[in-house]
Amino acid sequence: MKILTVQNLCKTYGKGEARVDALKNVSFSLEKGEFAAVVGESGSGKSTLLNCIGALDTPTSGEVRMDGQNLFSMGEEKRTIFRRRNIGFIFQSFQLVSELNVEQNIIFPLLLDYKKPNPDAVQEILELLGLTSRRNHLPNQLSGGQQQRVAIGRALITKPKLILADEPTGNLDSKNSRDVMELLTQASRHYQQTILMITHNRNLTASVDRVFQVADGVLTDLGGEANETLS
């Protein structure tokens, strides 16, 4: 079952001589439960691709369909609501809400939807993340690895169709990086969660199902076998 379909996605910045084609006719799709990684050099267009898929940025042309729905045919308000219900984000710099504690940060997308969180589900995620004892702590009272785990919890809480992770281990040491990757893999396996992760660290692709490479705005599907080769 296809969760994400990207077709002929283009993103261009600037005009004339300053024109930069960050994405050139990118097309691919992801199946439910697939854990994919996008690798590429710095400035290759990885983050632009993620931003466009996550509707954080508007593509110049092309389509992004999530579960059959074209993200950019929706109005801003509808798209935001769709995004918070169907896409979870994990950022390199965590982007936690400093004014909310661990538990509040995790349930934040539900609160934005004015939904009452299920305490069992919250407890389950806290346990999965190993943050039960820290549920009332503020982000500035946590280590980087803990903060990223909170961010993962926040991405998981709505049980989204897709999680987009932008360099989730970029700010972490190797141990915490390993932990985060394990958590993501576990989520993918345990919850049948589709994940698209961006990374410049090819070592992290060992545990993913599929690998894409972006170079100069062009996406190449290296597939699962290439993944094995790479790892």
């Binding site: 609501i81 918070r84 809400v97 934040f108 934005l112 982000p139």
Partner: protein
Amino acid sequence: MKHFLDLIPISAKVHRKQNRMSILCIILSVFLVTTIFGMADMFIRSQILQAQRDDGSWHIGLRNISAENAALMVARPDIAVISPYGTLNFGANLGYTMGGKEAVIFGSEEALVTKIFPDMLTEGAYPQAEGGALVTENAREMMGLHIGDEVTLNTPDGTSLHYQITGFVGNSSGLMRSDAYGIFLCMEDYRAIYPDVAEGEPSDFDIMYYVQFSHTRDIQGNIKNLKSAFQLSDGQVSENTKLLGLLGQSRDSFMMFIYAAAGILFVLVMSAGILMIASSLNSNVAQRMEFFGLMRCIGSTPRQVMRMVRREALGWCRFAIPAGVALGVVVIWVLCAILRYLSPGYFAAMPVFGLSLPSVAAGVLVGLLTVMLAARSPAKRAAKVSPLAAVSGSAGEARPVRSAANTQLAKVDTALGIHHAVSSWKNYLLMTGSFALSIVLFLSFSVTVDFMRHALTPLQPWTPDLSIVSPDRTCSVDSALLERLNEIPAVKAAYGRMFAYGVPISGSSAVQTADLISYDTTQFDWAEDYLLEGSLEAAQQAAGTGLVVKESDSTIKVGDTITILADGTLQEIEIVGILSDCPFSNAAGVGLIICSEDSFRQMTGLTDFTVIDIQLVRGASDSEVSAIHQMVGTQYTFSDERLGNSSTRGIYYCFNLFVYGFLVLIALITIFNVVNSIAMSVASRTKQYGAFRAIGLSTRQLSKMVIAEAGAYALSGSVAGTVLGLLTNRLLFAMLIGQKWGEPWGIPWSELGVILLILLFSVALAVYGPIKRIHSMTIVDTICAQ
């Protein structure tokens, strides 16, 4: 780059947008101070001009001093001018006449028209020798006089004295009101004409000496010296309170209250400036903590960071202070131009491009000092940023969070908005203080509107331009005249009143006599604002009913019946209403009863009026007034109050312009301040809002978050501002109005409503701009915003 401080202009280029807001704040503060001080300076200047013109350019008047002492005083270096001034027939009722009208006789010297009243002489010169005279313009016009003509002054004992006219002087409002001419003689002629005194001291001739001091710096010191040198008692020295008050030299208790009130307003304006700049700098530095952390990382000492912040703030002053001062000066020019246009007769002497040095100095000083003071705290904060925090990225957070937002009480967007507002107490206090101060300023300055209304009583709806008055204050002005007057096109309205003075009454323990006054429909309408209880309709429609004007010691209530002795019989009046005030004064222990014309006629049997007041149409000419005068005839006193009204109107325009100018300025500053503060707060959180949007915060929720934050500031600011504003309003009211007029203070609901509405409007305006800007940005741009 040769010095680390050279980084400032480079950084300024990058942070141009944030800096622009801080610069705007400094401009606004300097503008506020310059304009308010400049307006006050120009107001005082205009009032000094007007006071000198209306009441003379004298500082003190001396009575009962010998001619010898007066001659000695002239030689004193601290005295510029001393001029004798005697009046005879001041009340225009002793029978000194000229051209068939009462003449008021003045005795003085040339200095009176050249130094004390420099605008008084309209043509010619003061009589240098006996036999010469100056006469007033109204005599010139009515008697067709020219310089060199002879004028005859008839004294009550039947003597006719002849004088040759050497010039003319302007009419005074007092003379016009009394329907009399004025004649100015030299001292010898004045003494000669003064009845029953042949030889004697000046006091025997009712002569006062006007004294103008050489310098106005220490007039009270000069008065003290003069008193001790000539052994003058307090009773001999009278101050020109208005002029000395305006010169800041009065020791009059009411003026001292006015100075104290001005001092309070000064401190408030200064505080507004300081708060605005402090909150702006605080916000600006908070947004760049990461940058300062980076500086610390590279090797800057905390001292260097502080220097940098201060130098940066001073750099803004280089542009902002001159800009604020220039803006203030231009606004003052515009106000002066309006003043000259509104009342050219009084304010023609105001400079076209006048520069108020005290206001410019105050603007510059306040700007510089405030920026230096306001920069201290953010500079310290910036210097405290640890290099580690900068490396870890946590320095980017505007304020360290100590407690989590309460998402139980409100929805998460609202809860976060409120938390943003209250999470940093310092910022919250600054913002609340800044909002509150706007309310305090508005409520404080609004007292001056009440002050103006009390101080300028003649400008009431019933103020007449002309009055036809019974010479013996009886009901002797033909009532048929009223109809004829109302038919004249130049007459806008004419209304008569009948007076029965000192009517014995019973039924009230406090007063035994009362003045009975009749009102027509128009006058009853005017009385509506003063009705404390009861009904005006009943007094107008039912015969034998009346209204009483409230007296502090009176026990009369609505429904009481008072018996009066009128027309030789005892008559009953039922009191159907109580008025707080009326346009007439009454002697102590004498009540005021107002009734309809029918009731008055029925009770007294009198039918004619005591006074007919006339209001003229706008632009009515002197010839039209002369025609009315001729129609009325000479059997009544024709009181022309246009000159006095025009003087009051001049002051009124001036006061209005400044008072409402201040209020508009405060309202504008409130709007700018609120808009700027919210914009800065939103700008400092743009990145965070971007992250929220990425997580799934919709634009509507973002709006709610910003509105909640702004609303929290507005709510606490409104509460604090209302409480403090009402307290200062009450204090200033007591100082400016309560002390002088004894009026009780009441909550100024309308003023409070206006400023709260302005604040609400400002908040709406303030959230609209930033929300719209964030809406138009993509989430990626918002996250990356600097």
